[in-house]
Point group: C4
Chain length 192, copies 4
């Protein structure tokens, strides 16, 4: 009973962080004070926000996938040891940084360093989640932890960090791949 | 047991998003630094905030109704499949956009495009909730899902999007109709 | 089982709103960029924040008491009907306005209208909580609902609204009375 | 049953406050609008944020440790009396102030008074948690509550408050000691 309660608070605290981070994303969409009174004029003022909206959508889907995967992972947990607890906190650390990274990328949408920062946060989140999964499976006594397919996320994000230094639009495209990969029919096994 | 836990976290995460979105609404009420020292003078400075207050109240009631309906819907869920999970996330996406939409409409209370943006977000929230309801009922094996009455929300919000292009005050009035409709005695069946 | 779950989500959603509102209070403390490099000079810059700190502490304690009382009240609930659900939402509406009211009062700490706005929000919160208590007790079939003692809050807050028009420092003192009253040894019955 | 429910809402409300406070920390990282277009130039603009990042990381780890300890403590609770409830609220009061203190220290990273304010908030949080632990253990009827080791936190934070007046860099180092101490192998007993 103590163990399940343990897990319950880990989930409760994590859900708090997930739901706040995902809701704060929309706060960073800068609300425009429209100067032009015509619809066409206003439309062009709103279109300036397009990079912000794209980054917002990428971040929203990424956090949502992290949440779904976390949700599947905690269901497998029978005990929550000290290591799993702290690995989870490290993972949440990067989740809380996603709104910051999103904002940096939105404000400087063509700057290599900004996209690199954003990609680096997603990379770190992805790596820490993979480690959390390994620790959980090891605690369950699974001998052959198959992490081959789960390495797609960290690998693509790492590539995006490097590519951001050279050509930012391709880095953006790379950031969309892990979510797309998640929704592929064959990737269903990953979520388990 | 796995299934009920599933639903539990879906509710927990959704409640997090609902409660943050509804509390952030009030954050967007711009706090006035009153310049006039008299009560009459201060009152006129506060009255300028009236459109903000009206939009705030509409958004608060709308999110509250979405929460109540969501609350009724999840109680019917026996299993939470992948589709329901993601439809719920899409629905929450639009919930997190409501404070943004409210803010856009408050800042540009006479601009067609702003009211249209706001109405569009409410429309998308309403449509995604209707789809979530359909998916849930289909998962329960209900053959004749009666959605006739639940289409009132999407229809009126859609009308508001169109009307905002022509005459914004009427669009505002339309946004108040779905909440009013909800509180009508006959609409009680809808909430089930 | 359906009933208890009902109550569970009402509590979960309410706790979300309570915890966000109480944490946002501290966000409104304006962080000073200290200009003076000496400790004495910095101290005088910080002392300017004193009215903000006082209002912050009053609001924190007030929300905490509302939470404790809400917590006791929901424990008595056996069913959550439509009326109780919506009275709870109206109550939460005023809870979400407390950070706004705190901010208005902090920014305009000597302005009658600002203190009146703040007192009005606390008054409305207090009245709606009293109504929520009455509805809950009536649903339990209690015939003689003793609300005499619970009327202290609404009465004192109402007085503060009026007094704010005449002399703001006394209004401030009045706002401290309901919390003090709560901690009086004899007031323990009220919390049940 | 009433008792466990009691504890459940105390945990739920506390988890809300913890998760919001820890997520808001990242909000205070000021997002830079990079002016230089080169990577080297942008890097130097980002390095200016280094004190903010250090303070952010200290605060994140500190709140996380408070959460883990709180989590262990509430598991021991069999009843939640009025004193424990209010001591918990006082503790949460200082948790909600941590993002404010972090911000004050980030904005004025070399000012004695700012570091003192930050250290004072952590000191108060640490003291109130120690008191919460004592009250909980006393309610359990434990006669010899060993708090010797748990006094490390309050003592070091108190020292940091004093040292901040004389030499701020050493105060910063002191603030890192309680977290480090927590992760020492021998300190595992403290967390129980």
């Amino acid at each position: 009973m103590q163990i399940s309660h343990n897990r319950n608070r880990l989930e409760q605290f994590s859900d708090g962080v997930f739901s706040i981070a995902i809701t704060l994303l929309a706060l960073d969409l800068q609300v425009p004070k429209l100067l032009s009174t015509t619809i066409a004029g206003g439309m062009s003022e709103i279109l300036v926000l397009l990079p912000n909206v794209i980054t917002f959508v990428i971040s929203f889907i990424t956090i949502a996938i992290f949440w779904v995967n976390h949700h599947h992972l905690t269901q497998e947990m029978t005990t929550v040891g000290r290591r799993v607890l702290w690995m989870n906190i490290i993972f949440l650390f990067f989740i809380t940084l996603i709104p910051f990274g999103t904002n940096v990328a939105s404000l400087n949408s063509t700057h290599s360093l900004a996209i690199m920062t954003y990609a680096l946060i997603l990379f770190a989140g992805s790596v820490s989640f993979t480690l959390l999964r390994c620790l959980t499976h090891r605690a369950l006594g699974e001998q052959h932890v198959s992490i081959r397919r789960t390495l797609v996320g960290p690998a693509v994000y790492f590539l995006a960090v490097i590519v951001a230094l050279i050509f930012t639009p391709i880095a953006y495209i790379l950031l969309v791949i892990p979510p797309l990969f998640y929704f592929l029919p064959t990737s269903q096994n990953i979520t388990t």
